[in-house]
């Protein structure tokens, strides 16, 4: 009896492992297929592979529209990352350290842009500027992206801020530091992992945004995702697969690199000051 039960448990565990493996394959198989196909020599965007070729990357580099869209997206994402991180840090500082009326309501409101479907946010902003008779501008698009990224940055920085004890800042203040320098010298350095993490996430959210950008972009402007979308209207081609691969390298490579740099930085620091950790 007992042996049979044990056997059952083992089978349940095997099933769990099997489904897990299937889910991981499910998540990465299409991406792998896209990367592989980008090196296909065939004229058509599909299997079978007829040979290895880099010609689609060459085509891509010569495609002025794609390059323009890439530059546009890069700029928007950089500005979004910088501004959102700054806003996110001061907001988390206020939400964690201070008590004020409406704090609870504000922390709920800050999360909302992540929960409201982008289509609704997209239409809403468009209706507003139509009502006040304003054109769609780049500034609008960037501010929209900042709105979409703010919830994530606030959540990340807030989680870290909670772990930084306020006595450190207060000690600096009591020793005569100004508010600003206590923030800059004490809080910010301890917050760095969350700042970097938040900035990277904001960058990818902006660089990747599709639905809302379709509504908000100024006439004639294409961002990288909207450019891909309009290229897909014709059909899938090896060039799109190559473009996808480049995008994957950028958006996966940057955070991974950032994470590695961060890890080696903290490791170096730990070696210097063994008891520096905040918690």
């Amino acid at each position: 009896m007992k042996a049979r039960r044990k056997e059952e448990g083992r089978w349940a565990w095997r099933l769990t492992g099997f489904v897990t493996v299937c889910v991981y394959i499910f998540m990465f198989a299409p991406i792998v297929a896209t990367v592989v196909l980008s090196f296909n020599a065939s004229m058509f965007g599909g299997f079978p592979m007829t040979g290895f070729s880099l010609q689609w990357y060459g085509k891509l580099m010569a495609n002025e529209q794609v390059l323009a869209a890439f530059r546009t997206s890069l700029w928007i994402a950089l500005v979004t990352a910088a501004v959102t991180t700054a806003i996110g840090v001061v907001t988390s500082f206020a939400l964690v350290r201070f008590e004020f009326r409406g704090k609870q309501a504000l922390s709920t409101l800050v999360i909302l842009p992540a929960l409201v479907p982008e289509t609704i946010l997209g239409v809403g902003l468009l209706v507003l500027i139509k009502a006040v008779d304003q054109p769609r501008t780049m500034l609008l698009l960037v501010l929209g992206h900042i709105l979409l990224a703010v919830p994530y940055v606030v959540l990340i920085t807030q989680a870290r801020m909670v772990g930084i004890r306020r006595v450190y800042e207060e000690a600096a203040l009591s020793l005569g530091a100004s508010r600003f320098s206590s923030f800059r010298e004490i809080t910010l350095p301890l917050l760095i992992p969350a700042v970097v993490g938040g900035a990277l996430l904001a960058f990818t959210i902006s660089f990747d945004n599709t639905s809302a950008s379709l509504f908000w972009r100024p006439a004639g402007v294409e961002t990288m995702p909207t450019q891909i979308l309009s290229m897909l209207k014709i059909s899938i081609s090896p060039e799109i697969n190559a473009l996808g691969t480049v995008m994957i390298l950028v958006t996966v490579g940057i955070p991974l690199l950032g994470g590695l740099i961060l890890q080696s930085l903290t490791r170096l620091k730990r070696r210097d000051e063994p008891k520096e950790e905040a918690r």
């Binding site: 897990t20 991981y24 896209t34 299997f47 004020f100 800050v110 842009p113 606030v154 639905s211 979308l229």
Partner: protein
């Protein structure tokens, strides 16, 4: 009269939150308010409307079964997607939590990586799997199992598959976070009292992970029902969802009052699901899930 600033002065707090507050007011609250007002505007012709108040848009929405059909289809697809996510997502979450594998951070990292890959790319990459020249069809043709490519793309199944693909990491992370919050001594206690591992799971682990599962279901449902790109890329015209209807009404027909009406409807419907959820579960679980 000037009051001295105290250490944690609420006025300073307001100064610090001013940027985010302005952003939220002008880009979230005001747009939705203006959009709500727009639902009562009169549509004249493409791109033109007057502020003469009318209930015509709401009347059209409520009486034309075309819109109700769209809404029901969207909710159905969203619900199917969320449930499939729940079933398929629980196993990996449980596995990552329970495994004694030394490098489980790799499994977690692999869950985060898809968030970094462009959603558009992840969606169109399914064409390389399901399309006429995709992996499956080419392999089956080569093996001689089929003589014609199977039409697997541009139907509702493909749309649900695509949404499953981008929503599964959300679900797995949500369940994982709530599993991580379980005090493991409770399970050892159940086992030492004579529970089998199945009983311990059913009586202790599963109930305690339900908040994460519920948060994941809500998130997946809302994101699926609000989606635009997936039906556009993987579905046919018949598989369009409410988000596509809104986009076409505004960007295609330029009927802004009706587009605003449809947006508000979607907002209210999805919002009420979220409200029911927070009524029972509170916001904290969603926040935990989003923060990864």
């Amino acid at each position: 009269m000037k009051r001295r600033w105290t250490l944690y002065d609420p006025r300073l707090a307001w100064l610090l939150v001013a940027p985010v507050l302005l952003l939220l007011i002008f880009f979230l609250v005001l747009p939705i308010a203006v959009m709500a007002a727009y639902t009562f505007f009169t549509f004249v012709t493409a791109g033109v409307e007057t502020s003469a108040l009318t209930t015509a848009n709401w009347h059209e929405f409520l009486t034309d079964s075309y819109y109700a059909g769209f809404l029901l289809k969207t909710l159905r697809v969203g619900a199917i997607t969320a449930l499939l996510c729940g079933v398929l997502g629980y196993f990996p979450a449980y596995f990552i939590w329970a495994t004694t594998f030394k490098h489980k951070w790799v499994l977690l990292l692999l869950l985060i990586v898809p968030f970094w890959i462009s959603f558009t790319i992840r969606t169109f990459s399914w064409i390389n799997i399901l399309g006429e020249q995709g992996v499956i069809n080419v392999a089956l043709l080569k093996m001689g199992i089929i003589s014609e490519p199977l039409p697997m793309l541009y139907n509702e199944g493909a749309v649900i598959l695509g949404m499953l693909h981008f929503l599964l990491p959300y679900m797995i992370l949500n369940v994982y976070v709530s599993l991580e919050g379980i005090d493991r001594t409770l399970i050892s206690a159940a086992r030492s009292m004579g529970c089998t591992s199945a009983q311990a799971f059913r009586e202790v682990t599963l109930p305690l992970s339900l908040p994460g599962l519920a948060a994941g279901l809500l998130l997946c449902f809302v994101l699926a029902a609000g989606s635009y790109v997936t039906p556009q890329l993987l579905g046919s015209g018949r598989d369009a969802l409410f988000g596509n209807l809104i986009y076409d009404t505004i960007m295609g027909e330029l009927n802004w009052p009706m587009g605003a009406t449809l947006s508000i409807v979607l907002f209210l419907v999805l919002g009420s699901f979220a409200a029911i959820y927070t009524r029972f579960m509170g916001m904290s679980q969603i926040v935990k899930g989003l923060g990864g």
